[in-house]
């Protein structure tokens, strides 16, 4: 189907069919229109064509009578001898002319019947009726015409005379105005009775037989014309539909193809085409009129070439019609193409101008600062309200208009309020941490939309930055894991060979001592690398955390089981204070153990010998706090905050064991589990507090 749509030959055929059918439609149309009068009139004498012909005959006859009158006067002058020398020639010429008129009006040559009477109806001056023939019987539709023959001058008064009432009435008052009262008495007043028989035939060839013949023919042929007009009209429409359907399609081309016609502004194109159609319609009507009246013109009818002229005229009308239809089809085609391509608005000058104006105003409003907009809007509102009040104070429409204005204002403000509501909700969501959230800016007032878009951009940027940070943290963690692997491998060798050295017999006591140092330091290096990996993992959050219900008392108990003996070895006494019953927290047992392990290991390393280490567990307000207190062996010359930083220890010498990562790891792990880790230093008193959310 789409193949057929793009077929050029089919398109061309459609145009040919369209124009040919339109041509035929025009021909049949003009014929049907011309014949319609004949069908509408019951008698052939009802047409204006007939009246025209009768009137022409009447004028001709009156001219003949005048001519005859002048001839009589001239002959009288010649008989009296008062005529001038050229009178004979004039009379001869007049006589010839009169003979011609008599010839034209003889019964053998025309169906026109007439009687000329004096105005009192007494004297019959001339007729072409048979002696025994009465005017009213020969002619059903008798016309009357009265006129006057003066001395030289002729005054005419066209009026219809009713023979039954004997009253005449003026048909053209203008004619009576020209009547000269002074010469009226001397003039000879005549009445002309004339008409054409209803039943005529082709035995006498004149314009009446022609008119009758045409009427007869047209009556008979009207149905044919109408059928032809309708069927060809339908064909034209069909071809037009085809043309419109295929418009804009071309074989081998996707979508709608526009031609040079679509580059012309549509309204200009339409104006030109409509003007052309109007002109062609006028031509069509003019041709039809010419044909109609031409048929009534005696000379053209008598003309041998009339038939050819008539045919030419009908063809001409058809051509005008076809051209008109063609123009209309072109217009419709380009409209169809534009609609299909969706460029009607863009290729319409008016539309463009309006769009440009609207955009200009729109841009201006956008450009305007918000405050100005508010002032201008409010000003416009006040002025409009004031105008409404002054102009339509007593008008019922005023109330309606005022109400409508308030309604529009309410809707506008609601729109704004809703936009603000959405903006607020979006801001809240983003502020709540959902950086992926995008505020829906559709149908938002422009000023709010700018705000919303900026906010969206911020959230996008922020989300990107957070992502970037996560990535770099993960990268750091990977790096540390890899580096620690590369550290661990040689360290394994060192530890192993130091061990091997220890098992060999060393004669030099110094060598034994050195090996002892190597052993200690390699063990410390081992601890350091392990702590380094743990610290980096804990602080970057790559560790998995499985939180479950943990009993703190149980955990402390287990921790003491692990550490009590070691602490006792260092002469440290553990004092624990636990609340009644079990205290439950939500935490990851392994990580929490590591925290406590680190804290107790700190005590073992840095607490002064012979002192007590206090382990207190407290709960309240949904929180559980575990505090570890001990007296430092060395003075704590570092603030509490610094102690939690990596590689920082209570004493600067760094001679003792420990990596300085213990507290940092403990803090990171506590925070991973959703708790908090605090340190307090008061003189030599060192205090660490782990706070975790309580579980019920």
């Amino acid at each position: 189907m789409s193949k057929l749509q793009g077929n050029t030959i089919a398109k061309l055929c459609a145009w040919v069919v369209l124009l040919a059918a339109a041509f035929g439609t025009g021909i049949f149309g003009v014929r049907a229109v011309l014949s319609f009068g004949s069908v509408a009139d019951d008698s052939w004498q009802g047409s204006s064509r007939y009246y025209n012909a009768v009137d022409n005959r009447r004028q001709e006859l009156v001219t003949g009578i005048r001519l005859s009158h002048r001839l009589e006067l001239l002959e009288k002058q010649i008989a009296e001898g008062t005529a001038n020398s050229l009178a004979y020639a004039d009379a001869e010429a007049l006589r010839e002319e009169r003979a011609q008129v008599e010839e034209r009006f003889s019964r053998q040559n025309t169906w026109f019947r007439f009687r000329v009477l004096t105005d009192n109806g007494q004297t019959l001056l001339g007729t072409n009726l048979n002696d025994d023939e009465a005017m009213t019987r020969a002619v059903q539709n008798v016309h009357y015409f009265s006129f006057a023959l003066g001395d030289g001058d002729i005054y005419e008064n066209v009026y219809y005379y009713d023979p039954e009432t004997g009253e005449g009435y003026s048909d053209f008052p203008a004619s009576t105005a020209g009547l000269n009262p002074g010469t009226e008495a001397e003039s000879l007043k005549l009445v002309l009775e004339f008409g054409v028989p209803e039943k005529i035939d082709d035995s006498i060839q004149d314009e009446f037989s022609q008119i009758w013949r045409m009427w007869d023919m047209e009556r008979a042929a009207f149905d044919q014309y109408l059928t032809g007009f309708l069927s060809l009209g339908a064909l034209t429409l069909l071809a037009l539909v085809w043309v419109l359907w295929t418009a804009g399609h071309r074989a081998g081309a996707e979508g709608t193809v526009t031609t040079w016609q679509e580059r012309i502004f549509f309204d200009l194109y339409a104006a030109a085409m409509i003007a052309a159609v109007v002109c062609l319609a006028a031509c069509f009507i003019w041709t039809a009129e010419q044909l109609y009246w031409g048929a009534a013109n005696v000379y053209s009818i008598m003309n041998q070439d009339f038939n050819a002229f008539y045919k030419l005229g009908v063809m001409g009308a058809g051509a005008f019609f076809a051209a008109g239809v063609g123009c209309a089809a072109l217009l419709l085609r380009t409209l169809a193409v534009r609609l299909k391509a969706g460029c009607l608005g863009k290729t319409t000058l008016l539309c463009r101008v309006v769009t440009w104006m609207v955009r200009t105003i729109h841009d201006f409003l956008r450009f305007l600062p918000f405050t100005w907009k508010l002032v201008l809007g409010f000003g416009a509102y006040v002025i409009f309200t004031f105008w409404l009040i002054t102009v339509g104070r007593y008008d019922g429409v005023f109330m309606l208009m005022y109400f409508c204005l308030q309604l529009v204002l309410l809707l506008f403000l609601s729109w704004w309020a809703y936009g603000y509501y959405r903006l607020r909700q979006g801001t809240k969501t983003i502020a709540g941490g959902d950086l992926e959230y995008q505020i829906d800016t559709r149908h938002m007032p422009h000023d709010l939309r700018l705000q919303a878009e900026d906010l969206n951009n911020i959230s996008v940027g922020l989300a990107g930055a957070v992502d970037e940070k996560m990535k770099s943290e993960r990268f750091k963690a990977e790096l540390i894991t890899n580096v620690s692997h590369d550290l661990k491998t040689p360290l394994t060798s060192i530890i192993n060979y130091v061990n091997l050295l220890k098992s060999t017999d060393q004669t030099d006591p110094k060598a034994v001592e050195y090996i002892e140092v190597l052993d200690r330091k390699s063990q410390r290096l081992k601890k350091l690398t392990e702590d380094l990996v743990d610290a980096s993992k804990a602080s970057t959050g790559v560790l998995s955390v499985v939180r479950e219900k943990i009993g703190m008392s149980q955990l402390i108990d287990q921790a003491l089981g692990e550490w009590e003996e070691k602490l006792n070895d260092r002469k440290l006494t553990l004092v624990t204070t636990l609340p009644e019953g079990e205290t439950w927290v939500y935490a990851d047992g392994r990580h929490l153990w590591r925290v406590i392990d680190n804290l107790l290991s700190n005590c073992a390393k840095y607490a002064m010998e012979g002192t007590r280490v206090y382990l207190d567990l407290g709960r309240g307000q949904g929180q559980v706090a575990l505090s570890v207190k001990n007296i430092s062996r060395e003075p704590l010359n570092v603030p509490a905050e610094r102690l939690m930083e990596r590689f920082v220890r209570g004493e600067e010498s760094r001679s003792t064991e420990g990596s300085g990562l213990g507290l940092s790891i403990a803090r990171s792990l506590t925070e991973l589990q959703g708790g908090s880790f605090d340190l307090a230093v008061d003189g030599d008193l060192f205090k660490a507090i782990v706070t975790l959310p309580q579980a019920n």
């Binding site: 491998t489 394994t492 061990n499 990996v533």
Partner: protein, 232 residues
């Protein structure tokens, strides 16, 4: 005389292990990547393999998988990767044990001995009526004897009772209070850290590395348990 295949891309580690193992009376074969290890395993009769994970050519995980296609020889992975996922992957692929670098040579020897004992014990002791086992731990309740990989260990009566309680309910977590009540037959009055101390001693006796127990596990904040179907 057992033959042990040592496979690591670090030659110094290989020779150090070689020295330790030879001094313990084992024969050793050295390999420096996965492919060499596979070749050596084909040409020699091997009783145990020590295998590094990160090696060129063919890494330890792949080599283990290849070896496991046709052999059930014990494989101990040596790994510098201390990630839990690596350990789990190694054990799932068919390794019997793992040791993280940097390791203590004495621990390596202990683990090698343990694995070899289990491998050469040919099915282990008959399961008698009074015999409770979990992995390498076997407890003969009649004779009141506990063995780990066939090696008898000395336990105090309290340690023995604690181990018996845990062994008879493998996988079940007992809190200190529960253990105290069951073993001492007394209600617990906050003196449970005795239990923790006893458990630590018990762990030191039955585990090769008490800091990283394989069988008697500490469930922090909840209690203690014997790993169900403890493998390795």
């Amino acid at each position: 005389m057992n033959t042990i295949l040592i496979c690591d891309d670090d030659r110094d580690i290989v020779s150090a292990l070689d020295i330790y193992l030879t001094s313990e009376g084992y024969q050793t074969i050295k390999a420096y990547n996965g492919k060499e290890a596979l070749r050596a395993a084909e040409t020699h009769e091997i009783h145990l393999i020590l295998m590094d994970i990160m090696m060129p050519e063919l890494d330890g995980i792949r080599a283990t998988a290849k070896l496991r296609e046709g052999s059930n020889v014990p494989i101990i992975l040596l790994t510098a990767k201390s990630e839990d996922t690596d350990k789990i992957l190694g054990l799932n692929i068919g390794a019997d044990d793992y040791i993280t670098k940097p390791f203590n040579p004495l621990e390596v020897i202990a683990r090698v001995k343990s694995q070899l004992r289990r491998y050469t014990a040919l099915g282990g002791a008959e399961k008698g009526p009074g015999l409770i086992t979990a992995g390498p731990i076997a407890m003969d309740d009649g004779a009141k004897v506990v063995t780990v990989d066939g090696e008898p260990i000395n336990l105090t009566p309290i340690e023995y009772n604690i181990l018996k309680l845990l062994l008879s309910h493998p996988g079940q977590v007992f809190s200190s209070a529960q253990i105290y009540e069951q073993v001492w037959n007394d209600p617990a009055y906050g003196s449970e850290n005795t239990v923790a101390v006893h458990i630590r001693h018990l762990r030191e006796k039955i585990e090769i590395n008490p800091a990283e127990p394989r069988y008697l596990k500490v469930v922090w904040g909840l209690g203690y348990k014997i790993e169900k179907g403890a493998a390795g």
